[in-house]
Amino acid sequence: MEKLKIGGLKQSLELCQFDLRGPDSSEEIASKVSKLLVSKKINMEFLTYYPNRNSYHQLTFCLNQDKFSTTSEILKKECSLPIGWKISSRGHVGIITIFPHQSAIKILGVIMVSWAAQSIPIYGIATSLSAISFVTDYHLIDKATEVIQDLFQLPEDHAPIKPEIRYYQSDIVKGD
């Protein structure tokens, strides 16, 4: 059977994941947490937010693995989060991003089936205009990539799947 075509595939560097859950609060949790992280110049590479059922909200985000301890400390500090909010985390996750040509929902379903068959978990999904990103265990990221490469046809001139450049944002601020 002909493989479904996809436009591209890429892996992230090693990341960590935080899931924050709690009741509605006067201050939007996404605003509060992003403010805490920006004060330490920490980038969120992936984020999903949705007020879950039973009126509980959930904010999930991934950031570079070397920021795990700093972020844990910030979030666990007294008064960092509104009352009733709980934190859970994963120290070692990665993101696989796929660029589908078409039928994103079918590609999503095929990956869910194939990864489940190989015991590769999915901890989060988010789509953008041209991509679907999946969060999974970092130690399984190469296996997860192999499964996708077996399932889908990539362009012949595909760019490297593993990241070759790491970006650092400088602390230097240009004066007026």
């Binding site: 605003s31 992280l37 980038n43 590479e45 379903g109 205009l129």
Partner: protein, 162 residues
């Protein structure tokens, strides 16, 4: 070898705001052990023909919640398909909702983008129904009535590149 490139902006630049209006948001749940079955349903059944404008999934308390946003008309058919699928009975929908999304240079690689977005909306008292930030883009699902105001305040925070 280290390469240093310098890029500076007084306001965070974006390539522009785009909207998708008249959408329905669907939420349904799946235990992690059932994810293979859910994948089969959405890749093989009636559901595979739908074209969601936005999808997120989050894991919590031994289940994964999925959020799909579809055009209203397509949403009615999607809802009917969910109704026919016994394993996906726990679903609800919200409508009408709209999406505003934007992306910009290296949005995925630098800090401050999420804070600029969420603090702007929070100050304007705009409630976010759902959000997903990945691949250098920011997607916000809002009540349809909030979309004009959201674009107005976001356009004050971000500079639209010309």
């Amino acid at each position: 070898m280290e390469t240093i490139a310098v890029y500076w902006e007084s306001r965070i630049k974006t390539y522009g705001f785009q909207r998708v209006t008249d959408l329905a948001l669907f939420e349904f749940f799946c235990p992690p052990a059932e994810i293979k079955h859910l994948g089969e349903i959405i890749s093989q059944g009636d559901i595979k023909i739908f074209r969601p404008k936005f999808i997120i999934a989050q894991e919590s308390d031994h289940e994964i919640s999925f959020i799909f946003c579809l055009p209203l008309k397509e949403g009615k058919d999607f809802h009917a398909s969910l109704e026919k699928t016994p394993s996906l009975t726990n679903h609800r929908y919200i409508y009408p909702v709209s999406i505003i999304f934007f992306y910009g240079p290296h949005f995925g690689d630098r800090y401050g983008i999420a804070n600029a977005t969420f603090s702007t909306l929070s100050k304007a008292d705009i409630k976010i129904i759902a959000s997903g930030c990945s691949s250098a883009s920011v997607f916000l699902v809002l009540a349809q009535d909030d979309i004009d105001k959201a674009e107005e305040v976001l356009a004050e925070t971000f500079e639209v590149a010309k």
